[in-house]
Structures are given as structure tokens and as C-alpha cells.
Subunit: 175 residues, 2 copies
């Protein structure tokens, strides 16, 4: 059962011309979810991982499961205004306007090895902001792992230029 076969494509969502890759059909499938998390874990089982960071919100589902399986802590990287304690913030560009991600100032101990997990990498803008936050908080990003990659949008090159290893379980051509 290839993981890619359980991902649903929704044409023209959220706007005309976009092929939205919907992983909910993968997550709700027992075999599909099990396999997805196990493959994400397998990629890093020999690395030193101190914590997993997941990007709100779909990265929480996968990151929580990966952190538990690796027996490490989980750090949420959240949208602005959602974390209750002192935070660091990074803004990033969207097609129209900007958005902001935050991390707790005490989420990471200086020098910890952090694995970043999210569902999908497109342009890499969100992941770039998350990497900057993790580094500012004192962490070393030892890998960025995604279920889906959209290679035409250049996210991999963007994160590699920051010195990060990028791994994805499957890829889709087109936007």
C-alpha cells in the first residue's frame, strides 16, 4: 500500500488552479497512518533526536506520534497568539500578506537536536520560519521531514540552502 495512493487530491482548493493534497484520507486509514508514522520514524531512528517540533496544525498530528514513538519530547510551533508563555516570533510571506509563527522561549535547551515534522513542503516558507525559531531558541535542526513534497515549488532547495536535510515520503508534480 503506497502512502501516496491514500492521499486525496481536491482540485481548485482553496482557490482555482490549486490541486490540494488532502492527507486526512491517509490519516483516517489505520494502515496508512501506521505506515506513515513508522516511515517517518524509520528515517531518523539512528539519529540523535532530543525533541520533535511540529508545525500547527497538521504537523501536530504527525509530530506527536513521531515524538512518542522516538520517546522524546514534543515542541509545538504555533500560529501567533496561541502560546501562553513568553515567545519568540518569526513572520513569513504568503501569496498575499504575511503570517507569523511562535515558539516558547523555554521550549528547547541550548544545543538540543530537533527534528522538524510537517505534513507538506511547498515553497518552504513556513518551514523556514520554524527553523529560524528553533535556532533562535537554541536548537540544532537535524532534519526536516514531510509526508508530501511539491518539488516544483523549490522548498527543498530553500531549506537545504539553510543547511538542513530534507526528507519526504512522497511527491506530487504540479502545484
Amino acid at each position: 500500500m503506497p502512502i501516496k495512493s491514500r492521499i486525496r487530491t481536491i482540485p481548485d482548493y482553496p482557490e482555482k488552479g490549486i490541486m490540494f493534497r488532502d492527507i486526512t484520507t491517509l490519516l483516517q486509514d489505520a494502515q496508512g497512518f501506521r505506515k506513515t508514522v513508522d516511515e517517518l520514524v524509520q528515517l531518523h531512528v539512528r539519529s540523535k533526536v532530543d525533541k520533535v517540533a511540529g508545525i500547527e496544525a497538521r504537523g501536530f498530528i504527525l509530530g506527536g506520534a513521531v515524538a512518542h514513538q522516538l520517546s522524546v519530547g514534543f515542541v509545538p510551533v504555533r500560529k501567533k497568539g496561541k502560546l501562553p508563555y513568553d515567545t519568540l516570533a518569526e513572520s513569513y510571506d504568503l501569496e498575499y500578506g504575511t503570517d507569523t509563527l511562535e515558539i516558547h522561549t523555554d521550549a528547547i535547551v541550548e544545543g538540543e537536536s530537533i527534528l522538524l515534522v510537517d505534513d507538506l513542503i511547498a515553497t518552504g516558507g513556513t518551514a523556514e520560519a520554524a527553523i529560524k525559531l528553533i535556532r533562535r531558541a537554541g536548537g540544532e535542526v537535524i532534519g526536516c521531514t514531510f509526508v508530501v513534497e511539491l518539488p516544483e515549488l523549490g522548498g527543498r532547495e530553500r531549506l537545504e540552502a539553510m543547511g538542513c536535510e530534507v526528507l519526504a515520503l512522497c511527491s506530487f508534480e504540479g502545484l
Copy 2:
């Protein structure tokens, strides 16, 4: 290591008079996160669970890990406008105004046993809306499981009145 001891209390957040129970300190602690997920799983390891449903966003972190550990699928119950396919919606009251949760119409197969997971139960309004959605989608809620309960706010009684079993790992007095 009691789970409760790893939860941080932030006074006057998000507004004066509220004692906010911050589970990020528990989640980022390897031992704390492991123990939390294992205890949530242990409560249901003898039950027939077909899928875990998690409520956005903190319920995704815990629900994803619990679903993976039980080897079942995960269903996200999301804020309005976040799910890309056809949805069912339920609104619920907040202190000021209302909010809406959604579930995909095809997330659950008729008759499936669903375990609902979230981080905290206060008045139970959010969980009530999630239970209604799961039932409308064809699922049977076999349990509602939380890390933290605020017993003075009556959430347990509200969900029990709907015929749901409520379990929580720890409780805090006061709001």
C-alpha cells in the same frame, strides 16, 4: 513523576482571573510526554477502538500519538474552514459569541467506535460539539479522554448526560 507536576500554571491568561493550565511543559519533557500518551492508551487498550478523533489543535498532538499507539486511524475535528472536503458543522457557545467545529463527511464509517481525545475539559462545550459531529458522521463515541479536568466547570456531567464516559489523567481546582 506525577503528570500534574509537569503542567505549568500561568495566572491571568488569557484574561485576568483565569489560571491557564499550560501542557507544553509536559509535552516537551520526554518522560512526561511518554507517560501521558501511555496512560491515555492504557485506559482504552481493552476497548474496541476503530478511530481516534482529536480536537484542533492540542488534541492533535495527543490524539495522533494515541491513534498510532493503538494502530488505528486518526480523524481531525477542526475549526471552521480548515477542512478541504465536504464537512458537517456544529457551533458551540463561548463566553462571548460562538465558535464552530467541523468534521469531514467521510471521516467515519457507519458504526465505528470512536475515542475522543483532547488536552483539557472545562465546561465541555467544545467536546459536546465534537461528540455531536462524530455521531452525525455515523460514529459511536466510546470514550472521551483528557489530560486535565477542571471539575468545577461541570464538563464531566455535561458529557455523561450525553451518555459518554469521561476519563482524565489529572484535575485542577479553580478556573
